[in-house]
């Protein structure tokens, strides 16, 4: 491998989240030391994934089949759709095992500052899904950032005409959290989203 190839590899690795120039150099060295066990299989896996993984045309999840395995799973509850920002959030919810319904991946959040408008997100297809028979509840699981909350409000407004119940994740006291240590904003959010027992 010539110096130019190596440099290109390092530059590409450095574009991955969590890797800076220094860690990219380390990763490139590790790959080169383990050509057979790691580098070649990784290259093949990357090529295979690039060729076969696609966006699910129903929910926006990533999978090798379309519709994705979650949308195809007849055992899952088709009455409930959980709306997330990105596929990473879908994976986090799947890891928790707490949700057995369907998903809808928006593909980001509304941000005027970054030029992301409703047309750039999968909002229109969510409204179409909500009109389908059988959908009874839509759970908004966007993050508690300014953009996440503004997006949740926007989506709620767009779903108002569908008659489907819209809920959002609770905000407030973390599991194992002591009230004394919570900031005022979190406490206020927790009070607002309190539940009758």
């Amino acid at each position: 491998m010539s110096g130019a190839d190596l440099e290109k590899l390092i530059q590409l690795l450095a574009k991955l989240p969590g890797l800076g120039p220094r860690s990219a150099r380390r990763a490139a060295l590790t790959l080169l030391k383990k050509r057979e066990q790691l580098m070649t299989p990784l290259g093949e896996a990357i090529q295979a994934a690039a060729a076969s993984v696609q966006d699910c045309s129903v929910c926006g999840n990533l999978d090798t089949v379309d519709p994705c395995a979650v949308c195809n799973d007849k055992a899952r509850d088709s009455h409930t759709i959980c709306v997330v920002e990105d596929v990473g959030d879908l994976w986090a919810l799947e890891r928790s095992g707490a949700f057995r319904g369907r998903y809808h991946v928006l593909g980001g959040t509304l941000s005027a500052l970054d030029g992301i408008s409703p047309d750039d997100l999968r909002i229109a297809s969510l409204v179409r899904r909500a009109h389908d028979d059988g959908v009874r509840e839509i759970i908004l699981a966007t993050s508690a950032t300014v953009e996440g909350q503004a997006t949740a409000h926007y989506v709620t407004d767009r779903l108002a005409s569908t008659g489907v119940a819209v809920s959002r994740l609770g905000h407030g006291v973390p599991i194992g959290g002591e009230l004394d240590y919570l900031d005022d904003g979190t406490l206020t959010a927790a009070l607002k989203s309190r539940k009758t027992l």
Partner: protein, 343 residues
């Protein structure tokens, strides 16, 4: 005590320390301006914080991979810059602040918010959220095809965080006024008030009512905000802090330069006393060229007040003369050509 000629690097040292608290430090500099001129090497500041038996390692600096980003570490673990405020309260007084009462409202508001932050470290997070929603809304209005539902969402966010900011200011003001009442007789007592739409709403309605009212004001004001360039013309980002020399019943901006400085010192001392009493640790005070405008009596009174507060104070001056009364009580350092040596 840091002494040295003009341009020796005394204020630089204080600025480095000030970066161990959230925000832009005592010059209000942008990250790119903190780099050594003519160099693109990253910068960093680290300190060991000793309080009683507990020791904490604090560090902050620019991200080597992205000079526009600031990193923070607490005890070796990555933290947000706003988290530094939970570990260490810090206040400062610089010659630039001599014009605080004569300048526009934004400098006074920032000064007051920094005082609030000393007692309530979450005030910074709240302000960042508000600022972000404000900017998102302004951009939408500027673009000329504002989507009402999108604006509703942002205004809801602005109302929630805006009322929380105003409530934190009001709560702080009440305690500061109480602390000022116990103030030092050597310095004039300031009467202080926060004037702003949302602060006034909270004076006559509950927080939830104020949220509704502020949100309605924002929705009704979209047209006027577009005409004004996009940024909302009302809200806690427009509030002002009014300071009056109580004994003279005179607005601070009309007082002499020396009296204005003395009023500022009163405020800083009362705020330090308040934070010390409530958080159990007096803020670290960075006092740049503070002795310059004070007559000898007030200088002595200041030293006495600092001693009574019992925290850590960093003072700078061009010559050691005015600091003579502190000879037995402080460590003296000479700053020359950007290096520091113990005197």
């Amino acid at each position: 005590m840091l002494t040295g000629a003009n341009g020796a690097g005394k204020t630089n040292l204080l600025e480095a320390l000030s970066l161990l608290s959230p925000g832009r430090g005592l010059r209000g500099a942008r990250l790119a301006e903190l780099v050594r001129i003519g160099s693109d090497a990253p910068w960093g500041v680290a300190a060991t914080l000793v309080r009683g038996d507990a020791t904490h390692e604090l560090g902050t600096g620019s991200d080597p991979a992205n000079s526009e980003r600031r990193l923070a570490r607490i005890d070796g673990a990555a933290a947000r810059a706003t988290d530094l405020g939970s570990e260490l309260a810090m206040l400062w007084l610089t010659p630039q602040m001599d014009r605080l009462f004569a300048e526009g409202a934004s400098a006074r508001r920032r000064f007051f918010d920094r005082l609030v932050l000393g007692l309530d470290p979450t005030h910074g997070t709240r302000s960042n959220r508000y600022e972000r929603a404000l900017r998102q809304r302004a951009r939408l209005l500027q673009e000329g095809r504002p989507d009402p539902a999108w604006l509703d969402g942002l205004e809801r966010e602005m109302a929630e965080t805006g009322v929380a900011i105003a409530a934190a200011r009001r709560a702080y003001l009440e305690r500061l006024v109480a602390a000022l009442a116990l103030g030092n007789d050597a310095f004039p007592r300031p009467a202080i008030a926060v004037s702003g739409l949302v602060e006034e709403m909270l004076g006559r309605a509950s927080a939830l009512q104020a949220e509704d009212e502020f949100r309605q004001r924002l929705a009704a004001g979209r047209g006027a905000d577009i005409a004004a360039g996009g940024t909302a013309i009302v809200g806690p980002h427009k509030s002002d802090v009014i300071v009056v020399h109580e004994a003279k019943d005179m607005l601070a901006e009309r007082c002499s330069t020396g009296e204005q400085k003395a009023l500022l010192i009163s405020l800083i001392l009362a705020a330090s006393q308040l934070t010390g009493a409530e958080r159990g640790a007096t803020p670290v005070l960075l006092l740049d060229e503070v002795a310059a405008h004070l007559d000898p009596d007030r200088r002595l009174a200041l030293y006495g007040a600092l001693e009574a507060l019992g925290g850590q104070f960093w003072l700078t001056g061009t010559e050691p003369g005015p600091f003579q009364p502190l000879l037995e009580k402080a460590q003296f350092f000479d700053v020359r050509d950007a290096s520091v040596s113990r005197l």
